[in-house]
């Protein structure tokens, strides 16, 4: 079998397809799996072991040929034609297009494969997706982030198909990456040259200060202030800062490191390729980065990631995705901005509203957790004897793992075959496959509620919300939002720390679950929806979101029945639309009847818009308009598809709500019996 994978965006996007490529290889171990990428991504492609051949799409060369008047008009055309003809001669059976833009869609159609999964534009320009997950990718371009799924999961699910729970748990996501021999050797050499032992007490903090887009950068000055604070006297152990950069960034990185050293920090420049960077990840206590390829490497490794989301970076679709990864972002109304848009503000507002002190606090919280849980089970610092015991234990453990750990994927590594600091961090974090440990989460939550923060927030201009509980003033961060990644439903979801229970948040989560289930049902012909497991996972996800035992929440008891009532009302509306459409089957060619149907749909949409719980249904009907000039058959088909989708979604949401009610009622009865 011959399979072609197309990934024609940036390095980070390619890295997000790695789990999907791993899944392709798992399903087709003997297949030829070729990968089409831009030239700039070829170093990243070396980290993906499941590829047979890498084919370079000479994007820059083609663009130059088109734009430079001293180049022949047909140069790019002939070059592109030769490339496509080469692909055609390879006779691919399947094309996976993970790029989702028009360029790749046209290419997918031209390759001539039997099947294309992903966006494909046929000769006449008609689009096909072949997988409901890719249709979802198309849908979520213009929707609220909380209605979106992470790209890494969409790609993986598009290949994997329906979710299969293992012993009641959602499957873990493989990283799909494998460190190379060259990367491992160069990483070891770097650590040796820097006198950095993987068994050292000092935390190694990886820092990525630069991004591909200036509006995504936090700023060198803020990073210096952050480093200064962490290296100050209050620090229990002086961390070592490894400042990563590519060769063309050397000057900037060297200047930054010099500045950091002037404030007394132990900073080292790490000018390495991606292979070496990935091998170094396993030695990091923490990686602090913007939206960069390094972030994706971090999420695909054992290193905990603290991502600073600025500019057009998107936490829900393309953010850090490993369980326990932390995302910080500002609450500026204009964020996230458009990818290609220039910042329209007078200053870099989103970076300014991600204050240094808040990032310092979050970093300290993470480091103190690792320090406390990892190296010091008690409050005391380790003695020399303790440290050597730790080292001996680690070395012994490592010796037995070295032969097997090299070349393993992250998934295999998370089952206890990792080595270095990151392995011990992970053990200490006590991560299961789906969510951060409660203690880890509590440490971060506490970082938001310190009195120092409280005082600063009160002085801060702008809004803050205050809740009084038992006389204690508890405030949330005014400027920054902190999210932590969980995968309770098998989808990487950043949840906001300090989310208080509300019907709106509840609605969002249930909607999200129903959207995912609808996709699962449409994907897997043999998929058996195990509602018991789904309800249980949703319950855990809600507990995680609200960080509370929902049984104790009085408001919760009233919310579910209220949501059920509204969804039943929506179900009635959707069912009546379904009946009307059935009656219209033989008459849709009549413009008057068709117009009446559209007006009926619009009227129902206005009803559905009134309640937050049913708003999703109104949005699903938004594509049906009175001024649609498509042919009658096309318009009728759109109506039928929209209403059928809604019937499925509303039905699923009702089942989920009723399942949650039963779950809570059973538990309540159990408690009462006790």
């Amino acid at each position: 079998m011959r399979i072609l994978v197309i990934s024609l965006l940036r390095i980070g996007d390619l890295l997000m397809t790695a789990p999907a490529i791993a899944e392709i290889r798992r399903r087709h171990p003997q297949a030829q799996v070729d990968l089409v990428i831009n030239r700039g991504s070829r170093t990243a492609a070396r980290l993906i072991p499941d590829v047979s051949e890498v084919l370079i799409f000479e994007r820059e060369e083609l663009q130059a040929g088109l734009c430079e008047p001293e180049r022949a008009y047909f140069e790019s055309y002939d070059r592109l034609q030769a490339f496509v003809e080469d692909l055609q001669t390879r006779s691919y059976d399947v094309v996976y297009n993970f790029t989702h833009n028009r360029l790749s869609a046209w290419l997918s159609g031209l390759v001539g494969a039997r099947k294309v999964i992903g966006l494909c534009l046929e000769g006449t320009g008609g689009a096909s997706f072949a997988s409901p997950w890719f249709r979802q990718l198309n849908f979520q371009v213009d929707v609220d982030e909380r209605e979106s799924f992470h790209h890494v999961d969409i790609f993986w699910r598009a290949v994997q198909g329906s979710q299969v729970y293992v012993e009641g748990h959602a499957p873990s996501l493989p990283s799909g990456l494998q460190e190379t021999e060259s990367g491992r050797r160069q990483a070891a050499e770097f650590l040796r040259q820097q006198n950095l032992s993987e068994y050292s007490e000092a935390p190694l903090i990886g820092v990525q200060i630069s991004t591909s887009d200036a509006k995504k950068e936090w700023g060198d000055d803020r990073f210096i202030q952050w480093i200064t604070a962490l290296s100050g006297e209050a620090a229990s152990v002086m961390p070592v800062f490894l400042v990563f950069g590519a060769t063309f960034e050397k000057e900037r990185i060297d200047q930054f490191v010099s500045r950091a050293r002037q404030v007394g920090a132990d900073a080292r420049a790490v000018i390495v390729d991606l292979e070496t960077a990935y091998s170094l990840m396993d030695h990091l206590t923490l990686l602090v980065t913007g939206d960069t390829a390094m972030k994706h490497l971090g999420s695909a490794s054992s290193a905990p990631v603290l991502e600073l989301i600025l500019g057009s970076a998107d936490a829900f679709r393309t953010g850090a995705w490993k369980v326990g990864d932390v995302v910080m972002r500002s609450r500026e109304a204009c964020a996230p901005c458009g990818h290609s848009e220039k910042c329209h503000r007078a200053t870099h507002a989103c970076a300014e509203s991600l204050p240094v002190q808040e990032v310092v606090r979050a970093t300290r919280a993470l480091l103190s957790y690792f320090d406390r849980e990892l190296l010091t089970p008690t409050e005391a610092k380790p003695t020399v004897a303790d440290r050597s015991t730790l080292e001996t234990r680690a070395k012994t453990s490592r010796a037995s793992q070295v032969e097997t750990s090299v070349g393993k994927t992250h998934a295999e590594k998370t089952h206890g075959e990792t080595h270095g600091m990151a392995a011990r961090v992970q053990d200490a974090m006590g991560l299961d496959m789906e969510r951060p440990s409660p203690r880890y989460r509590q440490i971060l939550q506490n970082a938001l509620h310190e009195k120092v923060l409280q005082q600063q927030v009160l002085q801060h201009q702008g809004s803050q919300s205050q809740n009084s509980h038992a006389g204690e003033v508890r405030v949330t961060s005014a400027s920054a939002e902190i999210l932590i990644v969980e995968r309770l439903e098998g989808i990487s979801t950043p949840i906001r720390l300090g989310t208080e229970f509300s019907e709106t948040e509840m609605t969002r989560r249930v909607e999200r679950a129903s959207r995912r289930l609808a996709l699962e049902l449409r994907t897997g012909k043999d998929y058996q929806l195990r509602f018991g497991t789904e309800i249980r996972q949703l319950r855990l996800a809600l507990d995680e979101l609200f960080a509370a035992d929902l049984h104790a929440c009085e408001e919760m008891r009233h919310t579910l029945p209220r949501m059920e009532r509204m969804l039943q009302h929506a179900e009635g509306i959707v069912q009546s639309l379904h009946v009307q459409l059935q009656a219209l089957k033989s008459q849709y060619q009549d413009p008057q009847k068709l117009g009446e149907m559209v007006r009926s749909i619009l009227a129902m949409r206005r009803l559905l818009e009134k309640q937050a719980v049913t708003k999703f249904a109104a949005q699903a009907l938004e594509t049906l308009t009175e001024d649609d000039r498509a042919q009658a058959f096309v318009r009728f088909r759109r109506m039928v598809e929209a209403v059928e989708e809604l019937r499925l979604r509303v039905g699923l949401q009702l089942k989920l709500i009723r399942g949650l009610e039963a779950e809570f009622n059973d538990a309540t009865q159990f408690e009462e019996k006790m």
Binding site: E61, A72, Y73, E75, D78, L80, N101, L110, L121, G125
Partner: protein, 233 residues
């Protein structure tokens, strides 16, 4: 009546030895290269070429042979590349042949003196056919880069036609390229092609309205859609 194959009346080629020992041709008293350091001049010409030409193995068509030293330096830099020197002067070709590498192809392009250089469609087309340039325009599965020897073009403006034909960016040159791509020509509306004649230089987007309705699903059209996306990006 078009007059092909003859150089302009009165052209006379003489030869001088430059200070660096290299031979330089003079055509009608005008030096075709530096009479002081032609070798250095040729090296500088090569150094100023776009860096992008070294990252591919495309054939290099050099418009203007001059004394041939720039061709030799080009060949020295990348001896595996196909290098084709083009000129309207038989004499210069014969002169250069004496000292440039045998691997370098030297091709004569006849340029009739009687042609109206202000640009008449029919003249240009006839000349391309007769000159053998359409053989170079014909797609062979390999792309080429056009490099112009500016001193030669300044000395003999007729070489501008050669450059124009190879680049294919003017309407008349584009039409010549279409002639050797019949499968593509069949997808374009003749009426639209006539409209293109008003564009000084063609781009990929120039063709957007030129396609026939039945070309929508043609592979050629889809390739151009990809190119349009690249321009948009």
């Amino acid at each position: 009546m078009l007059n092909f194959g003859m150089h302009a009346e009165g052209s006379k080629l003489t030869e001088v030895v430059a200070r660096d020992g290299l031979r330089v041709a003079k055509l009608d008293g005008m030096a075709t290269a530096s009479t002081m350091q032609p070798g250095q001049e040729a090296e500088r010409w090569v150094s100023l070429l776009p860096q992008s030409i070294w990252s591919t193995d495309d054939a290099l068509y050099v418009v203007g042979i001059g004394s041939g030293w720039h061709l030799e330096k080009l060949h020295e830099k990348d001896s595996g590349r196909r290098v084709v020197g083009l000129d309207v002067s038989h004499e210069l070709i014969q002169f250069a042949r004496q000292h440039v590498s045998r691997d370098i192809e030297l091709q004569h392009v006849p340029c009739p003196a009687a042609l109206n250089l202000a640009g008449q469609e029919a003249d240009f087309r006839s000349w391309v056919s007769a000159s053998g340039l359409d053989a170079l325009l014909r797609p062979t599965g390999r792309t080429y880069r056009v490099l112009s020897h500016r001193p030669s073009l300044q000395r003999d403006p007729r070489l501008k036609w050669v450059e124009e034909a190879l680049l294919g960016r003017t309407p008349r040159a584009f039409a010549e390229h279409l002639r050797v791509r019949p499968e593509l020509a069949a997808q374009l509306r003749p009426h639209a092609l006539a409209e293109l004649a008003t564009c000084p230089l063609l781009s990929v987007k120039s063709l957007q309205r030129a396609w026939t309705d039945r070309a929508e699903s043609a592979p050629e059209r889809r390739l151009f859609r990809m190119l349009e996306e690249l321009v948009r990006a």
